[in-house]
Symmetry: C2
Subunit: 248 residues, 2 copies
């Protein structure tokens, strides 16, 4: 059973302010908790139903992670998920280390992606397409938001991110910088370089002009019908799919 | 101002049972209402703020659509959106007419897509890639669900759908039937036919075996990283992108 203070602490991590203050975030649901326990993240505490604990004791024992047994009702009160009959974990955030695309590597740059669901989906897509580095503008949604972690379906454990001034990184980039625009080159016929950056812009306004000036190749997904746009997660997947296709 | 009966009627359309009983559904938000007023759907009633009405009177006048002026609070009470400062429309559902892929046409078949957000996203993707016909298993989410209509961002006005026994349609198909599986042919090297069907399966279980037997070509999106799967909306977009690329 959770103490009053534990409950209060866990609930505080619903908010960015307290995640930053405590250097911790929440991972919820069976699969995500299993994945985080097998990752290089450091877990402070697991709150689990008796059933989940029994089945996964090897994972928590291995790292000597403290476990509190709780009822489903307690779990749901502590966390953000509407239903959670398994577990949640309180996990240490990582240091904000700078990232650059290496040789033969694709890195993503997110310029002001605001929706946590979109950011979580993008982590999952990055993980599918073997993209390990995501550079985020400071205005991009907080990756430690429980909605992002949930939507990433465990992929947050396999992708690295950095938040900061992306224009300063781009100013130093030595490889190609592709950017998603509505008036770029058709990605069906474009030959991508083996390494570089793909910049994705805000859901409503696209890439900011001050970021766009660093883009060396504007790219576009050809449209065959009448929808005005594609969701930014969808567009990221289609662009990475075309990139991988041309270099493999 | 809305009468009590109007409010009750509109609220009843949040539920599938009453949408079917009344043959009507809800369209919410400025852009979606504007699009539906310019489409071939028949609108029974528009509930609008004074501001929205003044700016869009040419659209409602054109079809002589009855309009009720309402406050933002009334609009939000009547509809399903958390915030709506523009309008909602009560629109007649269409007849459930059978659909088949014509020559040089791609049609989508959805086998048990349960999540309304995914279905709405798929409508938008279909609209982007010029797919005009979607055949849905009876267990697929209701396209008239307000969440589907919202997520489609107006694309529901440009795509046609049919609900029924998709195995009976597939048994009569004379063109290629592609199906998304994890063990199919790599879509980066596959040459697609100019016309045919693309079958997408359930979020957790994929395509049912009884549907899979009609698939003439299993297709797969190559994976370069470690995510277990892609969301069904994402996968639909990547597959349609590869299909369009090879035939255009």
């Amino acid at each position: 059973m959770l103490s009053k203070n534990q409950l209060k602490y866990i609930q505080s991590l619903h908010q960015k302010k307290y995640r930053q203050q405590h250097g911790a975030f929440l991972v919820e649901g069976a699969k995500s908790v299993q994945e985080v326990l097998q990752s290089d993240f450091q877990t402070e505490l697991v709150v689990a139903t008796e059933g989940f604990y029994k089945e996964n004791a090897h994972l928590t024992d291995h790292q000597r992670t403290p476990v509190e047994i709780a009822s489903v009702a307690e779990l749901e009160r502590a966390g953000t998920l509407e239903s959670n009959n398994a577990a949640l974990a309180v996990v240490r955030t990582k240091e904000n280390r700078p990232l650059l695309a290496g040789p033969n590597e694709i890195a993503l740059i997110l310029d002001d992606i605001r929706d946590p669901g979109n950011l979580g989906t993008i982590l999952r897509i990055a993980d599918w397409y073997g993209v390990r580095k995501i550079l985020c503008s400071e205005t991009t949604a907080d990756v430690y938001n429980p909605k992002v972690i949930s939507a990433s379906k465990g992929s947050f454990t396999r992708v690295n991110w950095w938040y900061g001034d992306i224009t300063r990184v781009l100013a130093q980039a030595t490889s190609a910088v592709y950017g998603a625009f509505l008036d770029g080159e058709d990605v069906h016929s474009l030959g991508f370089d083996a390494s570089g950056y793909l910049v994705m812009g805000n859901e409503s306004n696209g890439i900011r002009p001050e970021v766009g000036t660093f883009v060396t190749q504007r790219v576009t997904i050809p449209r065959y019908g009448d929808a005005e746009s594609l969701n930014v997660g969808i567009a990221t997947a289609v662009l990475l799919d075309n990139w991988r296709r041309t270099i493999n």
